[in-house]
């Protein structure tokens, strides 16, 4: 469940600086692009980094894969952009996009929230899945999109992840899953808890069959997703500064007697604690994944 509501706004209008000496704000008095995770269509637009607040020319921003050229902040991106950044051009074949959430519990406000999310993101669920190629090697992929109801895992997300892992098993190709989730989708009650078991069972089958599975934690990867398929991958990669944790930071702090480190539940923190293999910048992601598929998936291509 999502116990800590991560900031879901990607871009904010810059506060008007009262100091005339701040150069970027004055040098680029262009149009500031509104709040959205979609790529700006007007390439002359200016954006503002959510972290350092500096203004970024949108072309630069796109060229830097939506990483702030000033502070290195990795902005949240859509599943479409992620696929575009990571896999061979045009290689993605989407599957299971017809799966739609139902409202099995008739849970308060769920149907409305779903409707809003579908309209906003233009897809039936946050997870996009299918097959793709990376440096010409076939892989089965699932990519989560935080902007769809906080990436929460209901029956559809669970089913798509499970099918992705089963597809990897059937095709004997590595699986790559990009995670982004606040946790299980509370509104589907016990059904959503069971997605933890279902997805993990599929990952276990893949592991037993000797097929590699790589997961990438992006900001944020939390709770029910972190405590299931995300964490049983063979290799786990994480984008810099991503928020990674089981419980909301507030809950953890209340529960614990120990000191809470400054970088608690960041990518760097989980790296230090041995939970992930590498922190990898978005710019390097494709090449690291390529290397992993090439070496750890080699036996699948020669057999």
């Amino acid at each position: 469940m999502l116990q800590r509501q991560p900031d879901s706004t990607l871009f904010r209008r810059p506060r008007r600086s009262s100091r005339p000496s701040e150069p970027t704000a004055n040098l680029h008095p262009g149009i500031l692009y509104p709040l959205s995770m979609k790529a700006p269509t007007r390439m002359e637009a200016f954006l503002q980094c959510v972290n350092c607040k500096k203004t970024i020319f949108s072309i630069d921003f796109e060229q830097s894969l939506r990483v702030c050229p000033y502070c290195g902040h990795h902005h949240r991106i859509t599943a479409e952009l992620r696929i575009q950044y990571t896999f061979d051009e045009g290689s993605f074949a989407e599957m299971d996009s017809d799966l739609r959430s139902v409202d099995p519990l008739q849970f308060p406000e769920y149907a409305e929230k779903l409707q809003v999310a579908v309209a906003k993101v233009g897809r039936n669920d946050g997870v996009m899945s299918g097959t793709a190629r990376i440096d010409e090697m076939a892989v089965a992929i699932a990519v989560a999109d935080f902007s769809f109801m906080g990436g929460s895992m209901g029956a559809v997300a669970g089913e798509k992840v499970t099918r992705t892992l089963e597809r990897a098993l059937q095709l004997r190709v590595p699986a790559i899953i990009f995670c982004a989730s606040g946790g299980a989708r509370m509104q589907e009650g016990l059904f959503s808890l069971m997605q933890m078991a279902k997805t993990t069972a599929a990952a276990e089958r893949l592991a037993e069959a000797g097929i590699p599975y790589f997961s990438v934690f992006t900001d944020p990867t939390m709770a029910g997703v972190l405590a299931s398929y995300a964490s049983v991958a063979d290799v786990i990669i994480c984008e810099p500064k991503a928020l990674i944790g089981f419980a909301g930071a507030r809950v953890s702090k209340q529960a614990g007697v120990g000191k809470v480190p400054d970088d608690f539940q960041t990518a760097e923190y989980v790296m230090h604690h041995g939970m992930i293999d590498r922190v990898v910048a978005r710019r390097e992601m494709r090449s690291v994944l390529t290397g992993l598929v090439r070496t750890l998936g080699h036996h699948l291509r020669v057999a």
Partner: protein, 324 residues
Amino acid sequence: MAKTHKEWEKPLTELDEGIVRLKEFARRETDPEKRSELELRIADLEVRRNRYIQVMYSNLGPWEKVLVARAEKRPYSLDYIQSIFSNFIELDGDRRFGADHAIVGGPAELDGRPVMVVGHQKGRNIQERQFRNFGMAKPEGYRKAIRLFDMAERFRLPVVTFIDTPAADPGVESEGRGISEAIAACMAKMFSLSVPSVSIIIGEGGSGGAIGIACGSKVLMQEHAIYSVIPPEGCAAILWRAPERGADAAKALRLTAQSALESQLIDVIIAEPMGGAHRDAPEAISLVREALVAAMKEMKGQNSDEIRENRYLRFRSMGQFSSG
């Protein structure tokens, strides 16, 4: 709206206490007439008490179920383990970092046949509760469970798990030692087993902390146990910014055994004695034993592949969605 089982059962407790007091009077009473009068009153009170129990328990709402499932007097895993099995040998340690007392386990015998038992354990008084960390297991608990499951697999012991936890430990230190990884790995281990496994939800089936050891071939649930993706108070806090609306959230979450069975997410509901498992622990234990033996029997004759395949397909089918 009662906040605790104690509060909710208060009228009943008063009745019980009144009956005990009258019985004491009756025992001391020397005048036979007065004594028989007292005994009549006692009998009457007992009838009223039982009727009251019937009324309270025959139609528990979701929130009352929450209270009953969390009741301090409810039998805990070790109560079941020690009565259902013989020769239980508690084993401990994750061989990595520490001992965890919120999950107990070890080999035992059921009707003379060895099984591996693992369960959450809560405590009854303050010291015990702290010792058991309120039944909230740390990574070490799940890693101990993995060790025990591993032995069960290699030594061909059927697995029985008892689920009774508010949640996995959410503390900073558990986070640092990978509580998420531990839960995920524990589920994965349960799915790898080629021996039959039965998971029994006997109290609180709290979220990730519960599912971590609840991936049995068969999942049984006591009549008044609960099973939920989030504590109702937490759900209410998110949904309405009103943690006190737990009762509404409990209803919305459909966290009862009856809902879980209806959704086919569990296999069997185990009846509890009238008035809940805590009112007649021996009877509750005997009902759980019976259900466990029956579940085991159903899987007899399945070979390793079938056991794994059936368990996979069981969980594979969970989740409703539309397509096309």
